[in-house]
């Protein structure tokens, strides 16, 4: 029983990470119906920037050289985390918005295939950028958050790291919900998602709204990339594809285009991964997630929370 609870706890924590990435997919799909294949690789570049930052300020060693510097003081660690949590989201947001303008906007009027294929192309280029940046090996991300158990005395483990994930991801999601619901830009986004033509007629600059959506989705991926690095302590240029597919599955599971759905889907995927590796074996847990993706698409393509839409002829 305790073991089961432990895996549920792990699932919830990793699930909220997937949810953060899934939000970027779901928001973009909600407006322009594009499966942004490059989103996972954007997440990877975000964690690379964070790693570059801690190397530059001397908290972590350059990969493959000199022995690791002494563990940073608490103050330095907090400062480094704060810096990363500002720099990575800004970088990812800007990059995503630029790519939207340069690559997706020109093909927006073309058949849908054009945008998806372009996104695959962007994903390749991002991956290659990651390869140039730190090379093909997996890298150590400095462990700036202590791994001490907060639930000492019980059999469960809930460490500072787990706490950090929750403390960063939940407010980010709450903020996003408020933003989309109450701000002018948020309302414009929802309007554009519902009916781009009508939104344009109402004086909404739809292209600007789409860019903003890409920027916000990118910023969330940036936050997720820092949290991911601090939590798993390993990053590499191929992490984008794998985590991107998980997050995408989460978005589809919750009902693509649906923001609360993405959060719910992320948590479900986290739980499936944790419990799957416990009960079905580690080697099958990933296949299990893809099987869920297929089953959902076959039997309830609108997801758990998605509304049924009629197909346009």
């Amino acid at each position: 029983m305790t073991e089961f609870c432990q895996f549920v706890l792990i699932g919830l924590v990793t699930g909220s990470l997937y949810a953060l990435i899934a939000l970027g997919y779901t928001m973009v799909y909600g407006i322009i119906e594009l499966i942004n294949f490059a989103h996972g690789d954007l997440f990877m570049l975000g964690s690379f920037l964070a790693l570059q930052l801690v190397i530059t300020i001397g908290v972590a060693a350059t990969p493959g050289s000199a022995p690791a510097p002494p563990a940073p003081s608490t103050g330095a660690a907090v400062l480094a985390i704060g810096l990363m949590l500002v720099a990575a989201p800004v970088f990812c947001a800007a990059l995503n918005a630029v790519v939207d303008r340069a690559v997706y906007k020109p093909v927006r009027a073309a058949p849908k295939l054009a945008a998806i294929v372009s996104a695959i192309g962007v994903s390749f280029i991002f991956m290659n950028m990651g390869l140039f940046w730190f090379g093909p090996v997996d890298l150590n991300f400095p462990s700036l958050v202590p791994n001490t158990n907060l639930l000492d005395g019980t059999d469960l483990r809930f460490t500072y790291k787990d706490l950090m994930v929750v403390v960063v991801t939940i407010p980010a999601m709450v903020l996003l919900t408020f933003f989309v619901r109450y701000t002018t830009l948020g309302k414009a986004m929802r309007a554009a998602a519902q009916d781009p033509t009508a939104a344009r007629l109402m004086g909404i600059d739809v292209d600007r709204v789409i860019s903003a959506t890409f920027a916000i989705g990118g910023a969330l991926a940036g936050v997720a990339s820092v949290v991911y690095g601090l939590y798993f302590n390993t990053v590499g240029y191929q992490m984008g594809f794998q985590n991107g597919v998980y997050a995408f599955t989460a978005a589809v599971l919750g009902g693509i285009g649906n923001i609360p759905g993405a959060v719910l889907g992320g948590i479900v995927i986290g739980l499936v991964r944790a419990l799957g590796s416990k009960y079905a074996g580690e080697e099958w847990s990933e296949a299990l997630i893809f099987a869920i993706l297929i089953i959902i698409l076959l039997f309830r393509p609108t997801g758990i929370l998605g509304a049924r839409t009629r197909e346009k002829v």
Partner: protein, 369 residues
């Protein structure tokens, strides 16, 4: 004939060149000539994928799974640790049939899906296949792959090399099974190409195109979308399985599961899109350009760029880095090719006339669903 009409027959000119390559003397040709084999194998794979994506308009992102099934069926039927010990001609037939059967079985439940949802389901299928190959260690030998795959052409023929060719220095020495297998793959490619040309003009091929253009209208005219989609996937998966069988024999091993991952599916898709969806010469051109760059040109240039004259152009700390090698730029080239094609020439380098019209109509009709 007009000059343009003559140029239209370039695949046959390429065939003459490929037939002649083994007779070129010199070690360079011998070393790099082997690299043409992946070209032929990829061409069969891409032509198969083209039947699914190009003719019928089903955006399939998991073609590598069928390629893998073909390779592993060939492996299982030929390697010594299993009792079958069949020759290539038997294995290749079973490979194609097995891949086609799996294609039909896995596609049947997805028939009502369209567009991106179909793309995702096929991607999920491709990803699962990799895990199945990795995890069924008793059958597939896990990450090691099955080997040695027998190159025997027919039962009872132990070493079917074309003796005369092996006398030439270079060829036989670099790879024992090379001469016969080189021509065998080329023959398979030519037969596939001709067969697909016949299919294209047949009732079935025209029905596929009708389905791609407008599924509703095609159904109203009495065509059965389900049967047409399944026949397209059967043909595409079967050809992918055939290519997989060739691949396993050419490598003498099934390699590991990572040889059949999303990357290979995407490479095949890139070739088809770059060359021209639905157009056989276009697909061939896409394969020759992308795979030619990747498998033939890259090794030659990388080898050249190892040398001092090139490395000394750069400061010490940059030498030996990924971005100084041509192979380091692989994904950038593929990605940029996709983006640029989609932006400026979405119908591909050598478009099919009808597909071009569909895209120029610009009202969303004829898009891949």
């Amino acid at each position: 004939m007009t000059p343009r009409g003559v140029l239209g027959h370039w695949p046959w000119a390429a065939l003459v060149v490929f037939c002649a390559v083994p007779f070129i003397p010199g070690t360079q040709a011998a070393i790099y000539g082997q690299q043409f084999l992946p070209l032929f194998i990829y061409a069969v794979l891409a032509l198969g994928l083209n039947a699914v994506v190009g003719y019928t308009g089903l955006f399939h992102l998991g073609i590598a799974a069928f390629f893998g099934i073909g390779a592993y069926v060939t492996g299982i039927l030929t390697v010594p640790q299993f009792p079958f010990q069949q020759s290539f001609l038997v294995a290749v037939i079973f490979s194609a049939l097995a891949a086609a059967a799996v294609g039909v079985l896995t596609t049947a439940p997805t028939l009502r899906l369209r567009g991106d949802y179909l793309a995702l389901v096929t991607m999920g299928f491709g990803l699962i296949a990799v895990f199945v190959i990795r995890n069924l260690e008793n059958i597939t030998a896990g990450t090691k792959g099955l080997n040695p795959v027998s190159p025997h052409l027919l039962p009872g023929i132990d070493d079917p090399n074309l003796g005369a060719l092996r006398v030439r220095p270079g060829w036989g020495a670099t790879w024992r099974a090379y001469p016969y297998f080189y021509y065998l793959s080329l023959v398979v490619l030519v037969l596939t190409y001709l067969f697909l040309g016949w299919v294209e003009r047949s009732r079935l091929g025209r029905a596929w195109v009708a389905l791609r253009e407008d599924e509703l209208a095609a159904a109203c005219m009495g065509l059965s979308p389900a049967r047409l989609k399944l026949s397209a996937i059967a043909l595409g998966a079967g050809l992918a399985g055939l290519a997989g069988a060739l691949y396993a024999v050419s490598q003498r091993t099934t390699a590991g599961p990572q040889a059949y991952d999303f990357n290979r599916s995407m490479t095949a898709i890139c070739c088809v899109i770059l060359g021209g969806l639905g157009n056989r010469p276009g697909v061939l051109l896409g394969v020759f350009l992308l795979i030619g760059y990747d498998q033939v040109l890259t090794p030659i240039l990388d080898n050249e760029f190892q040398k001092d004259w090139y490395q000394q152009l750069f400061p010490e700390h940059m030498r030996g880095k990924q971005y100084l090698k041509v192979s380091g730029w692989r994904l950038v080239i593929f990605g940029a090719a996709l983006i640029i094609m989609m932006r400026f020439r979405p119908e591909g380098l050598l478009p099919e006339a009808r597909r071009k019209l569909e895209l120029e109509a610009g009202d969303g009709d004829g898009e891949i669903r």
